[in-house]
Every structure is written in C-alpha cells, then in structure tokens.
Subunit: 333 residues, 2 copies
C-alpha cells in the first residue's frame, strides 16, 4: 500500500502539499496540484483513514443507534441517514438498542468507544435525564423521534399529538362516534402523545372517550389482535379502531376476521406510520404518514452542519404527519 511518503517522493513535493491537495485545504498552484494528482493515480494511493483520524482527531464516522435493524421504520430511517452521510464522505456505524435501557446504554457506549465524531440516537428506554447528562459529555449527538425541551436544538421529532388528532379526525369525518383506540406502551413518549392528540380531537368534537375502548398494546401485531378481542368482550358498541401503529392495525385485521367481521363494512381501521406493508393489507390500510426517511436525512444534515460545519440551509426540527387514506375506513352502519 502506497503511503503519502511515496506520493511525496514521486511528485517531488512535501507531505504538507499532498495533504493540501487531497483535502482541499490551503492554496496549491495548479501545476503542483496536477503533479500530485498524477502521482496519486500512478501509485493508486489511498489515504489511511486511521492515520488521518489520529492526526486530525476526526473519524468521519457517525454512530447511529436504532431500535432494530429490521422493520420498515428503521430501514427507511437508516437509508435516509446513510445516503446523506455518504454524499459527504462520512459513514454511519449502526447499532441496535432493542428498546431496552441497558441495551441502549451499551449501544451508546459502544459507539462512543468507536470514536464516532457524533451520534444519531433513536432511543426509547433511556431517560431524559440520562440524555441531558450525556449532552454534557464529549461526544455530540442528535435525537430522532424524541423531543426534550432542554435539548430542543438537537431534536428531530414528529408532531405525534397532531398525528393522533388526525387519526381521530379521519374517523369522525366519516361519521364514527364510537372509536376504540389501540395505544402503544404508555411509557413511550410517542405513544402517549398520539393518544393525547386522539383524545383532543374527540373532546373537541364532543364525542365521549370510553376507557373500556382503550387498550395498551406493545406496538407488535399480536397486541393489536388482543386489543380487538378485548374490545369485543366488553360488548360495547364501536365501529372504528384507531391504532398507534400499522403493525397493531394488522393484528386488528386478523382478530376481525376471527370474529367474522368484514372490513371495512363492519369495522373501520386506521394505522399509524404508513409503513410499506400498510399497502399489503387488505383492504389497504389508511394510516398517518410518518416521514421517517426524511427525518433521518434531516438528522444527518444536522450533524453535518453542527459537527462538520457544512453549510446546510433549512434545518427543520419538527415534522408534521399527514393522513393517508385507503380503503380501510367506511361509514359506520
């Protein structure tokens, strides 16, 4: 492997000049620059990133902690982050936190030890206090899908309240007044905010909220199924179910079929996230769009601006969800 010394010798210039040409720092005459580029090409020279990191104290790597690698949600997020970073010659180091406190902390620790220049964190289990403490540390980071007032300028979040509101509105607009709600875990911020927005819409429409028609799921499919079965057992009237994510909505579909309900005639359903598979369901699931891909890109851009001083315009911290209508909502009978 050729080193910078060999390039220096072949091009007949000093190390400093080679470095300047490669990194575009400082002034180099066109003539010299060409000699250097030629030498680099001749030797197929590739700078050692380790040496570069050591000398410059930057690794050009950004640690990214997601909850899971699989699933449409994180895939879109990672994809957005990667494309944005790579365009600027940086790269992501991805790790999974599994929505578990110990595991998330370990993931963060791992990434810090990898000497990342910055982190992009999608964490659910660690406390606000922990993150505030972390923000005082050596490694800067950005939070995605989370809002902490004290750290507002490093947060990229979704207006979940609005999302919950939209999902209720969609049902109300179709004439439903008996709407069950399948929530995510109450302890998760996004969950509780969505629920809150949902209730706000009902209140505003003077439609009562029935606590028996609220179920705390875990964002997985099976809990959606359990939710519907549980609602059904109450023998209360409900013509629609709003779910805090698409997977649980899929579970609702399953239970509905078990109960012999036909969709959407007997039951209208709405999801949340607008994941790719929402379209695989039949009838296609109406959902509240979560622009996670764009948010991932934005998180990356925030890092590029804050850490690498890239000139990035339009940084946006809060994103708005939108209703996406498909065939899963009908008028109530």
């Amino acid at each position: 492997m050729a080193t910078i010394y060999e390039v220096s010798k072949l091009a007949g210039v000093s190390l400093a000049t080679i470095s300047r040409v490669i990194n575009g720092t400082g002034k180099v005459s066109e003539k010299t620059s060409k000699k250097v580029r030629d030498a680099i090409r001749t030797l197929d020279y590739r700078p050692s990133s380790a040496a570069k990191s050591l000398a410059s104290n930057r690794s050009d790597s950004i640690g990214v902690l997601v909850s899971e690698f699989h699933g449409p949600f994180y895939g879109a997020m990672m994809s957005g982050i990667e494309s944005e970073l790579r365009a600027k010659g940086k790269h992501g180091i991805f790790a999974a936190g599994h929505s578990d406190e110990a595991s998330e902390k370990e993931g963060i620790e791992f990434l810090i030890n990898r000497s990342c220049d910055a982190l992009i964190l999608h964490v659910e289990a660690v406390s606000d206090a922990y993150l505030i403490e972390l923000s005082k540390g050596r490694v800067p980071f950005v939070l995605i899908n989370r809002f902490i007032p004290e750290l507002s300028d490093i947060c990229i979040s979704l207006n979940n309240d609005l999302g919950g509101y939209l999902s209720a509105r969609a049902m109300l607009d179709s004439g439903h007044t008996h709407i069950a709600y399948v929530s995510g875990p109450f302890w998760k911020n996004d969950s509780s905010e969505r629920l809150q927005g949902f209730r706000r819409a009902l209140e505003k429409a003077s439609v009562p909220f029935d606590a028996d028609l609220l179920f705390e799921g875990d964002y997985h499919e099976e809990s959606g199924r359990e939710a519907l079965l549980s609602f059904s057992k109450t023998h209360k009237r409900f013509t629609a179910v709003a779910c805090a994510n698409d997977e649980m909505a899929s579970g609702v579909y399953k239970a509905a079929r078990e109960l012999g309900l036909s969709l959407p005639e007997d039951l209208s359903v709405i999801g949340f996230d607008h994941s790719i598979f929402a379209s695989y369901l039949y009838p296609q699931l109406s959902s509240v769009n979560y622009p996670i891909g764009r948010m991932g890109k934005m998180a990356a851009r925030l890092v590029l601006r804050n850490i690498y001083k890239a000139t990035i315009k339009d940084i946006k911290h809060e994103f708005e969800p939108e209703l996406v209508s498909h065939g899963s909502i009908a008028q109530p009978k």
Copy 2:
C-alpha cells in the same frame, strides 16, 4: 481525554503493559493487571481506536454492502451480521448498492477506502469476473446470497434450486397441475436458479410447463400484479401461482382481488423468502423460508474466523430453504 501515557503514569507501569492488559496479549501478573485496571477506571480511559488502528493495521470494522436498507430481507441480514460482530467487539459499516453495477462498485470502493478489515457483500449486479479480480486484491471479503465456484470458500448461499423445487412441490402435492410462475429478473442468479428448480419439479412429475404462464417480474409488488393480469389475458387454465418472492405474491393477491378471484379457493399462491409481512397478507402466504438472518450471522462468523482468527466451529456455506405452509394454498377446483 486520557491517553495511555496517563494510565501508564498513574499505574506506574510501561505502555506495553497497559496494552497487554487491555488486549489480553502477553502475560501480566494479576497484581499489575489490577493496578492497570484501576487506573483505567479512575481516568475513564478509552483507547483511541484511530491510534490502535494505525499501530496495529487493523480497524476492527467490516464493510457490509446490502442492496437496500429497507425491506424485511436486508433488515434481517444486517441484524444478524451486527449482533455477531458486536459480540466480538467489531462493527459493521453498512452501505447500499441498489442492485446497480456502478453503484455497487462505488459502494465497494467506498468501503475499501474506509479501511475495513474485510467486506461482506450482497451484490447482484457486478460480474463474477469482477469479484474474482477483487478477490486478488488487498481486502478480503465474503459473498452472501451468491455462489461462484472459483470463490466457493467465501460464499454463503442458499440452495435456490431446491427452493424453487419446494415451491412447485407444494402446489403439486395439493393437486395442482396448472401452475403459473412469476420469476424475478432472469439475469439474477437467484432468480434463474429458483425457476430452474421449479421446472425440475414439474418435469419430474411429468407436468408440462407452459411458457405463457411464466412472467419475468422485478421482485417488486407491482410486477406481481402485472404478472397475474398477464396470465389472465392468455385465457389459459391455471389454478396456482408460484412467485419468486413474497412481494410479488402480494401483487398477485391484489390482482386476484381486482379480477374477483377469491383466495385461496380460486387461486393458490406461494411466495418465496418468508418475509415478515407474509403473515400480514390474507390469507396468510405460504412461502419458502429464506434463513437470511442466520446466513448473515454465518457470513460474519466466516469473517471472524478468516480475518480475526477467532475459533469458530461449524462454518456452513450452503443453506437449505424450507417450505412454510399457511392458508394460501388450497386444492384446485
């Protein structure tokens, strides 16, 4: 940030000894070792990975090229790779190749420049010749989901032929003799192997194969839809459709509904991959299981063994798909 010098001073031992304690190389008395560990804790010392890489000529990072970040398939693969690597203190640098030759090459180039110790490649568009040439280069790699005879010991592949065979068998066993096939792009190896296995099963059962009932899709949902519409236009009899992946099977579902066919009574369908969303479809999709998560783990282990000399038993190069039956196959009418 504390450096190894400070640890050395505090513990009262030489640099070499610190290094030995940290890396478990060479012998260190328990007494000394404790002093060192205490000093490390006191100073919250974290070795600089850049310095370590520079000095040792290893980066502990493995480049991973996938086609896309999203989608259940790559998610499971990356997940398997990451967990395996992280357990050994290594990490993956993931990049997307988008199934496009230029983009795949650029991704490989990017990862090599990132000074990865090795690569795990899921590439579809680059030629065997290119990979054989690459294997002579400086950076070792492992291929996943691909088999090249000349590189057999660095390939982790699926027996796609068997998969195609199983999918045909499932239909034949249910009594179908008029089976349409939705293939992936013919130029992709996995595609053509699956098709070949499929035809082999038919031949063996003396069931004729009708070229009009073969459609070359692109592995995306919409092409599955197009396929069924196209079969339908031929007015040939077919009671079952086998698809080269689950997404196209989902497209077949959609088209079937457009055509007023009820599933699975009027049409039996089988997919391939057994992606997570196969269960979201209704009726749940029978599929041929692709153990991509396990294969990802195996690729990582192969790297750990070959590059880092980890002692890993049971390296397995070829995986076998299995039939997973759900409600999407019925007897022909």
